[in-house]
């Protein structure tokens, strides 16, 4: 099992420092705010879904710990090109991975590094928060 240090050193620090898609979109079709009331972390998530119903662009902004930022950053890269049902399914699989209900498999791609976090239940919410925002965003079309 990866220790917290390894987890940080392998990916989290890198995404914390240079988060992918850390920006606002010009013409979002969906958006939502995620919040972790326990620690005050916030994420603002925007998506643009194209005519074929696929996610064309994702951007996020906000402030938070390295875990939530890395999770949001990796989520934005994992979502590109997926349909909305596929995106929601990925969110479910990610949630299951972090709550120990499911083993990592290839379908999760790079996201599987977060599996190590399952041993730290207090931090799981940091990683799932952006994914909750995703669920929220997909429910509300602009």
């Amino acid at each position: 099992m990866a220790t917290m240090d390894e987890l940080y050193q392998s990916v989290i620090i890198e995404h914390d420092r240079s988060p992918r898609n850390f920006r606002r979109l010009e013409a979002p079709t969906h958006q939502a705010d995620g919040r972790n009331p326990l620690c005050g972390d916030e994420v603002h998530l925007e998506l643009r879904v194209d005519e074929e119903g696929r996610i064309a662009e994702v951007g996020f902004q906000g402030r938070g710990c390295a875990v939530s930022k890395a999770s949001a950053s990796m989520m934005t890269t994992a979502l590109g090109g997926r349909t909305l049902p596929e995106a929601l399914e990925l969110a479910d699989r990610f949630q299951a991975l972090l709550t120990g209900k499911r083993e990592a498999d290839a379908s999760l791609g790079k996201l599987k590094v977060f599996q190590g976090l399952a041993a730290y239940p207090m931090r799981v919410k940091c990683a799932t928060m952006p994914w909750h925002a995703l669920r929220e965003a997909l429910r509300i079309e602009l």
Binding site: M4, C39, C65, A66, V67, C126
Partner: protein
């Protein structure tokens, strides 16, 4: 607990401000109660019930004398600070609340001393906190003259450690005719509190921060105020006479203690207060102050650790941020070394907004803290800095 390990390392417990570890005497008293005299109180005539009742009522006397020799009838056992404040909000404030009434709080209050007043229907207006981490007393004086229904103020801040000048504030409030509730959650474990001279009208705290068990706490109130207040919850143990037409209530404090209380908890709190009474509190205070000062130097020597500005008198709290690292990440990495600190807003979101920080890291000092604990913290922080370097 302090002999255990955490994540495979000997535990370095620096979160007493959240909850204190318990002396053996407290654990023993509670076990003894369950093993030898567990029964309900104020109900049975048999021996076990009698012993439980005597122990429970004895605890009221212990607490009354611990608080400077107030009347035992003025001690109400509750679940903790939060419940005590809610009781006052619902029973003292709400029945006489008028539409535009407001409660004067401070920017450094715990949510437990903000939200209950709002739930009772009052607005909350804060006394500002200065850049040095103290209350702005001039502003307090001015606001007190503008007619708040109550001043609700924390004795010692759980985020800054600042010890507020309660006697001075209470005197100002008295001049303005405003009653005062003091949240003593962080104070009673560190300062000798004498309610006969402090000038407060209500004072409350939680047992678990005073080396006692969770689930029990104290509300002290001036007898005439408590007597004038309607009961908050109804049930057994709080009545004088019940019929379907009309019920009369037991005298204070019983009218505020509906139902079977946390008897073992009260007995544990009694033991904690006895334990504390047997310690040299002056020596403990000196020990804590020495460590607090040493801790400040250790943190400053790490580099990249920014402590919150606080006045020189403190209940042993070190709150800081680490450049480039979010408090949760800091706490998670320290946890890998078995170091327990608190990260977040510590239930003081308005204060964090005032400080312009979403969250901070807090280490807090207790009688059982050693210099080695603070050295471990400093070493852990150096490692955190490396991970984020």
């Amino acid at each position: 607990m302090l002999r255990t390990t955490s994540r495979g390392k000997p535990i370095v417990y620096l979160d007493t401000a959240a909850s204190a570890q318990k002396p053996q005497a407290v654990l023993d008293a509670m076990t003894r109660f369950y093993e030898t005299s567990n029964a309900n109180i104020h109900r049975g005539v048999y021996q076990a019930s009698e012993q439980a009742t005597l122990a429970y009522d004895g605890a009221r006397e212990t607490l009354a004398s611990f608080l400077g020799g107030v009347a035992p009838e003025e001690i109400v056992f509750v679940r903790g600070t939060t419940e005590a404040i809610n009781l006052v909000a619902q029973s003292f404030l709400r029945p006489t609340l008028r539409p535009d009434d407001w409660v004067l709080v401070t920017e450094m209050e715990h949510h437990a001393n903000i939200v209950p007043w709002q739930l009772a229907g009052a607005r909350t207006v804060p006394v500002p906190v200065t850049d040095g981490g103290e209350l702005d007393l001039d502003a307090a004086r001015r606001l007190l003259s503008e007619g708040p229904r109550l001043l609700a103020v924390v004795h010692a801040s759980n985020t800054l450690g600042t010890i507020n000048p309660i006697a001075e504030l209470a005197a100002m409030a008295r001049n303005a005719g405003v009653p005062v509730l003091v949240d003593g959650a962080q104070a009673v474990g560190h300062l000798a509190v004498d309610l006969t001279t402090l000038g407060a009208d209500f004072y409350c705290f939680s047992g678990h921060k005073l080396f006692g068990p969770t689930g029990v706490g104290v509300l002290w109130g001036r007898r005439e105020l408590l007597e004038a207040m309607p009961p908050w919850q109804g049930g057994g143990d709080m009545i004088d006479h019940v019929s379907f037409e009309r019920t009369t209530f037991a005298p204070v404090p019983h009218k505020f203690e509906a139902g079977t209380p946390d008897i073992a908890g009260v007995i544990g709190l009694d033991a904690a207060v006895h334990w504390l009474g047997a310690q040299d509190r002056t020596a403990i205070a000196a020990h804590e102050e020495t460590l607090w000062r040493a801790g400040r130097e250790l943190l400053d020597a790490v580099g990249g650790v920014v402590r919150l500005a606080v006045p020189d008198r403190n209940v042993g709290i070190l709150t800081f941020t680490v450049d480039g690292a979010h408090p949760h990440d800091v706490a998670s990495l320290l946890d890998q070394d078995g170091i327990c600190v608190r990260a977040g807003h510590h239930c003081t979101q308005p204060l964090h907004r005032r400080l312009g920080l979403p969250a901070t890291v807090r280490a807090s000092i207790a009688p059982y803290t050693a210099l080695a604990d603070l050295e471990a913290l400093a070493a852990g922080l150096r490692r955190v800095r490396q991970v984020f370097a």
